[in-house]
Amino acid sequence: MKTAKIKKILEKAFTCARSFFDYSDILYERVEMTEAKTIGSQTFITPLSVKARVQMRFLKNGKKVSIKVGQMEEHDLCQAVERAKDLWRSAKKPRKPVSFVPIPNPGRRNYVIDPFFDLGDADPKKVIDAVLGGVSRVARSIEKKYADRKVEINPEVWFYAQDEEKIIADSEGIFKRQTMPRTFLQVHTKIKAKKGKSTQTRVRIADIKGLETLLEPTKTGWKLNSHSRTEIRSWIEMACDLLDGITLSAEDVAKMDHFVLDYNTLGVFIHEALGHNFEADAVKAGESGVADAHGKPRGEVAAHTVDILDGPLVNPDTRKPDMATGFGTELIDDEGVPVKIKVLARRGRVRDYIHNRETAAYFGAKPNGGAYSQLGDSQICRMSNTYMVPASDSIVYKDLKTLIKDIRYGVILEGTLGGAVSKDGMSSSIQIGYLIEDGKVTKTVNPANFSGKSMYALRHVDGCAGEIKIDDVGFCGKDGQHRPVGDGGPRWTRIKTNEYVQLAIQGT
């Protein structure tokens, strides 16, 4: 739909709304996607999916009404305004009136992230063939490598590439438009060995880039780029390693002095243990484990030697936010607020929360670009890329080898299948472990689960090594909405075992 037509429809809707409401805003989101999935022996391909929906919000006398509308048509939007009037009459005035802080930088209209290789310029069949064929070739080559063990490798692929557009407009004249690509690949590998033992691993590669996230051009089409091939190979080989995985009893785990987390494992741990608790709507509802309902911190949330951030990474050369990467990165949020790096905790102490315009007004804070909606749903406070960085050189080690050198008995934990959060506790899965005995890696350890108390989970970080990565990507679920996110931290992070962090290793 052309921008001029959209503007005309929006203006009509605002005209309907202005006669009754003090304020209204509209979010229009549209996605065009190419998708392929392989499940077992079946392949499911959707060369094009188009979806678009609208979220309308209305304020009058401190009461808020929000409506999701199916179609971006004048009739549908005006009908929704009439429904909103009825709902507003049914709504009860909250004890503290609802208001929104103003949208910063109201004059800027266009926000664009350009892909290097645009999906729109490519033959979708060649793109999908390159992804599915590339993954299959990696799997078959590993089958040959492990021929003596007669492993059967079945990689299940989920790939999509999409172009996203969103428009945010309000009754006071704001009109902002963002366009960007997003590309995603997941390879979930199931392995069956001769003796019947089965294992699995999952790898994801994704970014807010075009096809270059995964592919490079050839003379006749496309092929997986070397980064993708290396990542896929590495995780399929880890599934093979798990055939020799051992389990450890609760007594064995109790003897450990350290856990060493890779950036994936640490990332999901931070996302679940801390990130959700910094979402200001959860704080306001009294559901945060790190602050009370007035926003007053309950105490320290991490070691004094680390900071917890949400947003894009800082570009080390320009010292500015790197808005070109990170699966959860966008230039403006779904209320039109420019996205900022949020320092959630500095040296272990709570510093800021992730706000939408409503919570920023409620807490008297500045908006920081944390409001997101899943295609027409309401804009709630969401993480983008949540990560840990060292705040002191005292905990930075040269590399993994030196980081584990003085660990008498511990475990390296790599990869995750995701996690979940409750108010005071969290849980995240671990794909594979490696036992450390007297400073050396000795055995492969089965998948596990890492759980902890939110407030205490990161108080015992005592070392890290390697570059900061936010490439652990996923889809965060909250209030029935999914949102693409990234998370991470240093390549390796060491946590001293303590009573608030639990590790349970799966059996044989």
Partner: protein, 445 residues
């Protein structure tokens, strides 16, 4: 709405010389109140629709989907879909029997969707009654209440008429201090008293203290566990179901074999998409095969995998009416591939009352949720997850809530089937399942 879309798709199908097409069209309206610190906020969804298409041309299959309901958008997605056709075992889509039109909608609910004042009043009473009668037992009350009206059409070009379902849903949810909650999900409007007493039920049972495993001497031990129907349902749908799907049988990853005794004799469970109280009840699955009740386990003997039409052809059996659009993770339903999927679980009750089952546990845990169970190892059935919203049992009484993040529970969902010590006579209706509490044993990490 259906007729206009059907005609558009038919016109495009003729232009592109398609062999066959299948469409799943859905539309819903929904109104809900969010309860936050006893304040209510209203939101609504109006005319939210989606269309999932499967197309066959020259014996090959492709998918298309859209939420934009005009002919230009349909032409756009269908034209693109035809650029990538895949081999399929399907010779064509089903011929949907005539007369499969079900109107399960409750007029009381459909009226509330547009005029929710009575719903607001019911929820306000629930909040004030819970607050007054539960005084001192909790500090914070959150929750929600909603009503919805949905229509779904499944149609194929071989059919004379679509299968059609019009249904309503009601849900209410009350959470106290994020320590426990109660939920009510029904296809018809429950009695006012049932809604109003929802929070009081939670407040009455909520103990003052919480406990870590080490506080009750259970750290590192194998303990008696009573699985709440929520926990049993999530273990079933997240882990065990993977072994029930015909896709897993065909790929050799299922650990189940029909006719073998793979579970306790106490274990009889069916997948029943026809159950009159289920919100998702419908005349057919999402590819037009009539819905039926499939017994999965009978007295511990595994009876049947669940099939859609394509896996049924590949395994030379008939579809069990389980061809549904099941997302891999974050897609909307209409974008998801059609594959074997569970419709609604019904497990036979046992003979022990829940309160007697609890009385019979000296030291253990009543497990309501396993946090992050979706991350369990679906291949092996193994899981190690932390207990959430659960209760510690000491000497037959619920004495404390399980302290969050401290009860790491380890087990194997497939082994639990064989290790059912008891099944309650009480069952919980969750909207799309009817399950009892079961007693088993798990390790505390």
């Amino acid at each position: 709405m259906f007729e206009a879309i059907r005609k558009s798709v038919e016109r495009i199908a003729v232009r592109h010389r398609l062999d066959d097409f299948e469409m799943l069209l859905s539309r819903h309206d929904f109104t809900s109140f969010t309860i936050e610190q006893r304040d209510l906020t209203v939101s609504s969804e109006v005319g939210v629709s989606s269309l999932g298409l499967r197309l066959i041309k020259n014996g090959r299959l492709t998918y298309a989907s859209t939420t934009v309901m005009d002919e230009a958008a349909l032409e756009h997605v269908i034209t693109a879909a035809l650029t990538n056709l895949q081999p399929t075992a399907l010779a064509g889509f089903s011929e949907i029997p005539k007369g499969l039109s079900w109107d399960n909608a409750d007029t009381k609910i459909s009226e509330l969707v547009a005029r929710p004042k009575r719903l607001r009043d019911l929820l306000l009473t629930t909040v004030s009654e819970t607050w007054e009668k539960g005084k001192g037992k909790f500090e914070r009350l959150n929750g929600s209440g909603g009503v919805g009206l949905a229509e779904d059409w499944v149609y194929t070009s071989r059919s004379k008429e679509p299968s059609y379902r019009r249904s309503t849903g009601f849900n209410a949810y009350i959470d106290l201090d994020s320590r426990d909650f109660e939920v009510l999900v029904r296809s018809r409007l429950p009695k006012a008293a049932e809604i109003e007493k929802l929070g009081i039920k939670v407040a009455r049972r909520l103990p003052k203290k919480s406990a870590k495993p080490s506080d009750v001497g259970l750290k590192g031990k194998e303990v008696d566990v009573i699985l709440h129907p929520f926990c049993l349902g999530s273990l079933f749908s997240n882990v065990i179901a993977e072994h029930l799907y015909a896709t897993s049988k065909l790929s050799g990853h299922s650990k189940l074999k029909t006719g073998e005794k793979l579970a306790s004799s106490r274990f009889t469970i069916a997948d029943d998409g026809t159950h009159p109280e289920f919100v998702s009840r419908g005349p057919t699955d999402e590819e037009g095969t009539p819905t039926r009740c499939n017994v999965l386990f009978s007295k511990g003997v595994f009876k049947s995998f669940v099939y859609d039409r394509e896996t049924a052809i590949l395994d030379e059996v008939s579809s069990t009416g389980n061809g549904m659009r099941r997302p891999v993770l974050a897609e909307e339903n209409h974008e998801a591939p059609v594959r074997p999927s569970l419709r609604g679980l019904v497990m036979e009750p046992g003979k022990t009352k829940l309160k007697d089952m609890i009385k019979g546990v000296k030291r253990g845990i009543l497990l309501k949720f396993l946090l992050g169970i979706h991350t369990a190892d679906k291949v092996s059935g193994g899981f190690s997850n932390t207990a959430y919203l659960s209760y510690v049992i000491e000497n037959g009484k619920l004495t404390a809530t399980a302290e969050p993040g401290t009860w790491a529970m380890r087990g194997n969902a497939l082994e639990i089937l064989n290790n059912v010590k008891d099944v309650s006579s009480d069952r919980f209706l969750s909207g799309n399942s009817l399950l009892p509490w079961i007693k088993t044993r798990l390790y505390v990490g």
